[in-house]
């Protein structure tokens, strides 16, 4: 059994605890700017809900035939809070047990969850961007309205931006550190 260094264990525990607040703040944000909206609009994705200017965005989206964005359409909001609590518990357990295989498991869970998250987000964006009401008022041949996965993208008169929010960074940063710790432990043991 390969034991982790006490330093590694403390950092893992801190990373696990750092993820807790992401259940109580916005994880991801989509920003929209247009000539008529210099102040911008923001859609916030929390682990358990959508917030921000969602009514305004839905109202504008009906012109291009985009489906209404409604919380109840996303089963993810029932799962994600538990996933974050799962990360925290697995992280703390890893720190307590202090075995390298646990760090392997923790890293794998984080990376797999991350991959799933990115795919799932892209999938919804694709769904909303392409699955348009054929009777929409504004129809441009070949135009779809899939927001960017990350970064900025111009969609008609709207500039759409997609970025992690506070809660997102509180998951991404610890996850990166955990991966780095695993690599460090691997190198150290050789």
């Amino acid at each position: 059994m390969k034991k982790l260094k006490i330093f590694t264990r403390i950092i893992i525990a801190m990373c696990a605890l750092a993820m807790i607040p992401s259940n109580f703040v916005s994880v991801w944000q989509i920003q929209l700017e247009a000539p008529q909206y210099p102040e911008g609009m923001k859609m916030e994705i929390w682990s358990h809900k959508i917030a921000g200017d969602i009514d305004k965005i839905n109202n504008l989206n009906h012109y291009i035939g985009m489906s209404q964005i409604k919380e109840e359409n996303f089963p993810e909001f029932k799962i994600m809070p538990w996933m974050i609590w799962g990360f925290v518990l697995i992280g703390l357990f890893t720190a307590i047990v202090g075995r390298r295989f646990m760090l392997w498991i923790f890293t794998s869970v984080l990376v797999a969850s991350g991959a799933w998250g990115i795919y799932d987000f892209w999938h919804w964006e694709y769904e909303y961007g392409h699955n348009l009401n054929p009777h929409a008022a504004i129809k441009l041949p070949g135009m779809s309205y899939q927001p960017p996965l990350f970064g900025w993208k111009q969609l008609l008169n709207f500039l759409a931006g997609s970025f992690p929010d506070v809660g997102g960074w509180l998951i991404i940063a610890p996850a990166v550190i955990v991966v780095a710790l695993l690599m460090y432990e691997m190198i150290r043991k050789k």
Partner: protein, 654 residues
């Protein structure tokens, strides 16, 4: 022939000489005192905002104008005492009660003096009060939403001119009668009996600290002269109000001559705290009355009009210590209290001096009973006993004075068409600038506060003439902006205004913007006929009344097809704007309606009553360009002849 020509030559020569003499001696015009960098000082770059809100009375438009300074750009006209077809004010079912009076529906008035609410003698940016002069009323505008939310009628009053002046903490807004009237039973008296039977009243309207709600607490019955303008005391003189009075001759005809005979008229000093004491002792008479009190409910977006039936009246001649007259040179207009509260300056329209009274001297004179007899039972304080000093040779036709933060006063002069700056303590004249033309009131931002904002003085002129591009016989009204930062006043800007801006008040923008409302919350809308969800839109028949519960959202009405309306029906369109964003109003209009459109703000419900005059299919549409598909925001109402059996039905998108 010869004789004649020599004589003629002589005459011609004399004529030339005279012409030369007069032209060479014609004095130059007064310098306009235009600042060289005026353009820079009033320029507010695109996208930038003004520093100050200016609220001007609309005069005979009955409304309030809102401007930004220093740019002079007009921002809004707020309907107050007159119907406004643009917003549906006074036309929609919700707002009609706002214009009810004891005389029935009263769709016009003459608004003169805006007054901001204040706390500790400083403008607090919460409400704006304004008087109706013709059918006496006082209105309160909510500065969070820039809408008129309350109007109270003043009973026993002819011409509510000396109004609505607020006390230091907006404990009261006061309104005094310009035209005295008889108070006999039925009010029926011969006009020639003016001297014996006509009286004035001063109304004290209490303002609720939290809600702003007004309530006529008591009225003072005062001698029958004309009460013109007023200011409440502040700081040392808090608890007192001062009124200017003209027509102490008690003339009832040809006042321009008959009310200009006496050398002195009066300033009336009223101790309202003393009046409150008498009120508490039950010294008031209960008079039957009939006056409207109209309140707009912010949750139901609906106004109610209640007729109040009683008022408490205190007769000042029986209640010592409430009222004193102070002689004041000829027909005073302005009656203004300086920032310290100690000095009261009165502007006699026909006077050669501006008298400045001292509040502490007035108190001493009252204590020492330095009276010159009485006028209708009210003691007249000796002029010299109340006087602090006179401003000598100030100009012609002084009207109104405001103050800066450095101890200076600015007085407007109608006849000599100028603003004169003078020192309140020394009474020395410091500077004068011409105005274009014949200034009435003037306004210094917070110029009647304990701590004025200063910086500018705004001239509110009575005559416009050649200042702008001409527009036929009727011209725009005109105001000028002057800088008062330096020693010399400097003209910065001319700007046109609506109606006749008798008076204006100005305050720094952040006092207002800090509590600005961007839209009404749909969740809080408790209008009886609100429809907060398209699914609940419906049409309900109740006898001959058809109620349409309609929604508006970009870019459609629900329902937008209605059938089953019959001739003889009254149709009520209750339109709820479902938008919850800033600056997305919807309009509603239907062909042949004998009133106006509706302008429905986000989250609000408004009702248009429509009585079709002919069978047919009537188009209706959104009148406020709301969105890219605004032009598609339309629908139809089918009206069938009476007695047919067209079924009531309604739909959108079917």
């Amino acid at each position: 022939m010869k004789n004649v020509s020599i004589k003629n030559l002589l005459f011609i020569a004399v004529g030339f000489l005279a012409a030369g003499f007069f032209s060479s001696c014609k004095p130059p015009k007064v310098d306009s005192a235009m600042a060289g960098d005026a353009a820079k000082r009033v320029y507010v770059a695109p996208g930038k905002k003004d520093e100050i809100y200016l609220f001007t009375s609309g005069g005979f438009s009955g409304q309030v104008g809102v401007y930004g300074l220093p740019s002079g750009r007009m921002l809004k006209q707020v309907p107050v005492f007159s119907q406004d077809a643009e917003t549906g004010y006074g036309y929609s079912e919700e707002t009609k009660p706002m214009l009810m009076t004891s005389h029935g529906y009263t769709p016009w008035d003459d608004s003169h003096h805006p007054q901001l609410s204040r706390t500790d003698g400083q403008d607090d940016g919460r409400w704006l009060f304004i008087n109706a002069n013709n059918t006496p009323r006082i209105a309160r505008m909510d500065l969070g939403i820039f809408k008129t939310t309350e109007i109270i009628e003043l009973p026993n009053c002819g011409g509510n001119h000396a109004s609505p002046f607020t006390t230091q903490n907006t404990e009261y807004v006061v309104g005094a009668s310009r035209f005295s009237i008889p108070y006999d039973k039925d009010g029926d008296a011969a006009i020639a009996e003016y001297k014996d039977k006509f009286k004035g009243t001063i109304s004290f309207i209490k303002v609720d600290k939290e809600t702003g709600r007004m309530n006529l607490n008591f009225q003072l019955l005062v001698p029958g002269v004309d009460y013109d303008l007023s200011r409440a005391g502040k700081a040392v003189s808090h608890g007192w109000v001062f009124f200017s009075c003209y027509n102490s001759e008690k003339a009832h005809t040809l006042l321009e001559v008959n009310a200009s005979q006496r050398d002195k008229d009066f300033i009336m000093a009223v101790n309202w705290k003393k009046a409150e004491e008498y009120l508490a002792q039950g010294k008031g008479m209960k008079w039957a009355a009939n006056y409207a009190h109209n309140v707009m409910d912010e949750k139901t977006h609906t106004a109610t009009s209640t007729m109040e039936k009683e008022v408490t009246v205190l007769d000042v001649k029986d209640l010592p210590g409430v009222c004193y007259f102070i002689p004041c040179p000829k027909s005073p207009h302005g009656c203004d209290v300086d920032p310290t509260g100690e000095y009261i300056c009165a502007s006699g329209k026909l006077a050669a001096v501006i008298p400045v009274y001292s509040f502490s001297k007035i108190q001493k004179a009252i204590e020492a009973k330095s009276f010159d007899g009485d006028f209708d039972g009210v003691p007249v304080i000796k002029y010299e006993a109340a006087l602090d000093g006179e401003v000598e040779k100030p100009g012609l036709g002084p009207l109104h004075t405001e103050f800066d933060d450095k101890g200076n006063a600015y007085t407007s002069f109608f006849v000599s068409s100028e603003i004169v700056k003078w020192d309140v303590k020394t009474k020395q004249i410091l500077d004068r600038v011409p105005t274009y033309y014949s200034i009435g009131h003037l306004c210094v931002p917070m110029g009647d506060n304990i701590h004025p904002y200063g910086k500018y003085v705004i001239a509110l002129n009575k005559i416009t003439k050649d200042r702008y591009l001409p527009t036929g016989p009727e011209l725009t009204q005109s105001a000028q902006l002057y800088s008062i930062d330096g020693q010399k006043m400097q003209l910065l800007l001319d700007f046109p205004t609506i109606g006749e801006p008798h008076y204006a008040q100005a305050c720094p923008a952040e006092l207002i913007t800090k509590h600005e409302v961007k839209f009404f919350k749909l969740d809080s809308n408790s209008h009886k006929y609100a429809c907060k969800n398209e699914k609940d839109a419906k049409v309900v028949r109740n006898g001959n009344d058809v109620h349409v519960y309609m929604t508006a959202i970009r870019s459609h009405f629900t329902p937008d097809n209605i059938e089953g309306v019959k001739m003889g029906d009254n149709v009520y369109f209750h339109v709820t704007n479902l938008e919850q964003d800033w600056d997305v109003p919807h309009g509603f209009a239907i062909k042949g309606a004998n009133n106006s459109e509706l302008l429905i703000l986000p989250g609000e419900t408004s009702t248009l009553k429509w009585t079709p005059d002919h069978s047919g299919v009537y188009p209706m549409y959104c009148t406020d360009f709301c969105s890219a598909l605004h032009q598609e925001m339309q629908g139809y109402v089918r009206v069938s002849p009476a007695g047919t059996n067209t079924a009531l039905k309604f739909s959108t998108g079917e």
